[in-house]
C-alpha cells in the first residue's frame, strides 16, 4: 500500500509535467494541424532560463550578489515570503522569454511555410529542434548543470513532499487557467474558430496571424514551467533533456486525442501514473514498454484518442 501511494504521488507529479508539455503539442496541432517537434526544446530552454534566473536571485557566488545586490538575494532566500516572490518571478520570466522564443520560431520557421505541403513545416520543426539543442550545447554548456537547491523540501511521509505538492498544485492551476482561457475568453473563442475554419475565421475579422502567434506563446510558456519543474525535481538540466519528456508528452497528447486540450491533460496524468506504477510494481525497465503498449491498445480501439473525435464517416 505504501508503494502504491508513493507511486501514485510520483505519477501525478510526473503527469502534471507531461500534461503541461502536451498542451503545447495539442494547441499547435489543433490550429495548424502540425506537430511542433521543436516543442521539446521549448521545455529545455525554459528550464535553462529558469535555472539562470534562479541562480541570479539566489546564488551568492553568481549573479545579483556580484552586482552588489546581496540584500536582494538575502530577501529572496531568507523567508518563505521571499521565496514565493522569487519563484513567481522566475516562472513568469522564464515563461515570457520562452513564449517569445516560441513566437519568434513560428514567425521565422513556420509562417513562411504555412501554405507549403504539410511535410515542410514538420521538417522545419525538426531543424529548429536540432538548432536549439546545439545552440545550448555550444553556447551554454555541454554537461549537465545542477539546479540551485533553494526550494525548501519538507517530507510528509508516503513519498509526499512540498516540492511534489508545489508541482502538482501549480500544474493544476495552470491547466484550469488554460482551459478557462480557451473556453471562456475572446482569444480562446478566436483560437477555436481558427482551428475549425481558418478562412471563415478571417472573414469574421479575426487576425489569424495573431491567434497563431498567441498559440505559439502559450504552449512554450507552459512548456517552460514544466521545464523548471523538471529541473527542480531531478536536480539538473542538460541540453538534450527535452527529448524524452517531449516524446512522452507527445504520446500523452495522442493518447488523449490530439487537438483536444482536456485530452492532453488526461493523457498526461494517465501516462505519468502508468509509468510510475509500472516502475513501482513491475520494473523500472518496463515503464516505457507498458506506457507505449497502452497507447497502442487505446489507438486500436479509439484511433482518435480517448477524448478525440471518434471518426465516423457520414454517408
Amino acid at each position: 500500500m505504501d508503494i502504491f501511494i508513493q507511486q501514485l504521488v510520483n505519477g501525478i507529479t510526473l503527469g502534471g509535467m507531461y500534461a503541461l508539455i502536451a498542451l503545447g503539442y495539442t494547441l499547435v496541432y489543433g490550429i495548424l494541424l502540425m506537430i511542433n517537434f521543436a516543442h521539446a526544446e521549448m521545455f529545455m530552454v525554459g528550464a535553462y532560463v529558469g535555472l539562470f534566473s534562479l541562480k541570479f536571485f539566489s546564488d551568492p557566488e553568481w549573479g545579483a550578489a556580484t552586482l552588489g545586490l546581496e540584500g536582494m538575494q538575502q530577501f529572496f532566500t531568507g523567508s518563505i515570503f521571499g521565496l514565493i516572490i522569487m519563484f513567481a518571478i522566475v516562472f513568469i520570466f522564464s515563461g515570457i522569454v520562452t513564449g517569445l522564443l516560441g513566437m519568434l520560431i513560428e514567425r521565422v520557421a513556420y509562417r513562411p511555410l504555412r501554405n507549403a505541403p504539410r511535410l515542410a513545416p514538420l521538417i522545419s520543426a525538426i531543424g529548429v529542434s536540432i538548432f536549439l539543442q546545439n545552440a545550448v550545447l555550444l553556447w551554454v554548456d555541454s554537461r549537465a548543470i545542477a539546479f540551485p537547491n533553494v526550494f525548501p523540501v519538507v517530507n510528509f511521509g508516503y513519498g509526499i513532499n512540498s516540492l511534489k505538492i508545489f508541482i502538482v498544485v501549480t500544474s493544476i492551476i495552470l491547466l484550469i487557467g488554460l482551459d478557462t482561457l480557451v473556453s471562456k475568453t475572446k482569444m480562446g473563442k478566436a483560437m477555436r474558430a481558427t482551428s475549425q475554419d481558418r478562412g471563415a475565421a478571417q472573414l469574421m475579422g479575426i487576425n489569424i496571424n495573431k491567434v497563431i502567434a498567441a498559440t505559439f506563446f502559450i504552449g512554450p510558456a507552459l512548456g517552460a514551467v514544466a521545464g523548471i519543474f523538471h529541473g527542480m525535481y531531478y536536480g539538473a538540466v542538460i541540453f538534450n533533456m527535452g527529448f524524452f519528456p517531449g516524446i512522452k508528452a507527445f504520446t500523452a497528447a495522442v493518447l488523449g486525442g490530439i487537438g483536444n486540450l482536456r485530452g492532453a491533460m488526461l493523457g498526461g496524468f494517465m501516462l505519468g501514473i502508468i509509468e510510475s506504477m509500472t516502475a513501482g510494481f513491475i520494473s523500472t525497465g518496463y515503464k516505457d514498454v507498458v506506457a507505449f503498449a497502452i497507447l497502442i491498445i487505446v489507438l486500436i480501439f479509439r484511433p482518435g484518442g480517448l477524448l478525440g473525435e471518434s471518426v465516423v464517416e457520414k454517408v
Partner: protein, 270 residues
C-alpha cells in the same frame, strides 16, 4: 462618382490561362439590394472572393467607401465593414450557435486576454454586451430557441440563417450572401426573402449571389449578370429578364453561335 459604397473598376482575375472574372465594372450603393446572377462557373463566387480579400484581383481596382481594398487581408476588409456568408456553409461546427455569432462580435470588442481571464469589471460588462448582441442577432434570424445547440447539429435552413446572423454580428455596412437560398424549400425561401428585406431595413446593404431566379426577381432592386467571367447585363429585374444576352446565357445557344459569341470580344449591350 466615388460615392458608391462598393465599386469595382475593371476587376479582373486570372488563374493561369483562365480568366475567371474579366474586366468587371460594378457598384453597389448604400441601402440597395443588389443581386449577382449567372450560370454555374460564371465567376460569381470568385468575384465575392475578390471583394472579401480571399483573392487579389490580377488587374483593376475595388473601392469600398471610396478607398481601395485591393491587397488587404480578409480580416482587415471584414473590419472595414464587408461581411459574407458562404455557398457551402462554413460555420464553426464544434461551437454552439450563440458562440458562432459571438465570434462575429470578436473584432468589435476590446478586452484583452488578461482582462477576460481575471474577469475585470470592464471585461465582464463587455462579455455581457457580446452575449446580448449575439442573442439579438440570433433572434433577428429566428434562432433564439437553439442558441446552445452545436452549429453542426442544426437543420440545414437554420445553419444558413445562423451564418447570416454571424455575418451581421460583425456590424457590416455591406453583407454579401452567397446563394442564401440554395437547398431551401419554398417555405424557407419565402422566409429568407423577408429576412433579406429586414436586413436592408436594419441599415445593411445587401449584395447577393443567387441561382433561384424567382428569389432574385422578387427581392433584388438591381441585377448584374455574369457569364464566363464577363458582365453581360445589368439593370432592374424586368430589364434583365428580357435581355436577350441573359436568355442566351441561361438557356444556351447552338454550338456555332456560342463559339461565335466567344470569339467576339466586343462588349455586349448593357
Amino acid at each position: 462618382m466615388t460615392s458608391h459604397l462598393m465599386e469595382a473598376r475593371g476587376a479582373t482575375i486570372r488563374f493561369g490561362g483562365l480568366t475567371a472574372v474579366d474586366n468587371v465594372d460594378m457598384y453597389v450603393d448604400v441601402g440597395e439590394i443588389v443581386a449577382l446572377i449567372g450560370p454555374n462557373g460564371a465567376g460569381k463566387t470568385t468575384y465575392f472572393n475578390m471583394l472579401t480579400g480571399i483573392y487579389k484581383p490580377t488587374e483593376g481596382d475595388i473601392l469600398f467607401n471610396g478607398a481601395s481594398i485591393v491587397g488587404k487581408a480578409p480580416h482587415v476588409i471584414a473590419r472595414q465593414g464587408i461581411s459574407r456568408t458562404f455557398q457551402n456553409i462554413r460555420l464553426f461546427p464544434a461551437l454552439s450557435a450563440i458562440e458562432n455569432v459571438m465570434i462575429g462580435r470578436h473584432m468589435r470588442t476590446k478586452t484583452g486576454a488578461l482582462g477576460a481571464l481575471f474577469k475585470t469589471p470592464p471585461a465582464r460588462k463587455e462579455e455581457q454586451q457580446i452575449q446580448a448582441d449575439a442573442e439579438k442577432w440570433l433572434a433577428f434570424v429566428g434562432l433564439s430557441g437553439v442558441a446552445n445547440e452545436l452549429a453542426s447539429s442544426l437543420p440545414y435552413g437554420a445553419q444558413r440563417r445562423l451564418e447570416i446572423a454571424r455575418a451581421l454580428a460583425t456590424e457590416p455596412q455591406l453583407i454579401c450572401l452567397d446563394e442564401p437560398a440554395a437547398g431551401m424549400n419554398p417555405q424557407e425561401t419565402a422566409e429568407l426573402n423577408l429576412l433579406v428585406g429586414r436586413i436592408r431595413d436594419a441599415g445593411v446593404t445587401v449584395f447577393l449571389i443567387e441561382h433561384d431566379m424567382k428569389v432574385v426577381m422578387e427581392i433584388a432592386e438591381r441585377i448584374y449578370v455574369l457569364d464566363f467571367g464577363k458582365l453581360i447585363a445589368q439593370g432592374t429585374p424586368r430589364e434583365v429578364q428580357n435581355n436577350p444576352a441573359v436568355i442566351e446565357a441561361y438557356l444556351g445557344l447552338g454550338a456555332d453561335a456560342l463559339m461565335a459569341k466567344h470569339l467576339d470580344e466586343g462588349g455586349d449591350d448593357a
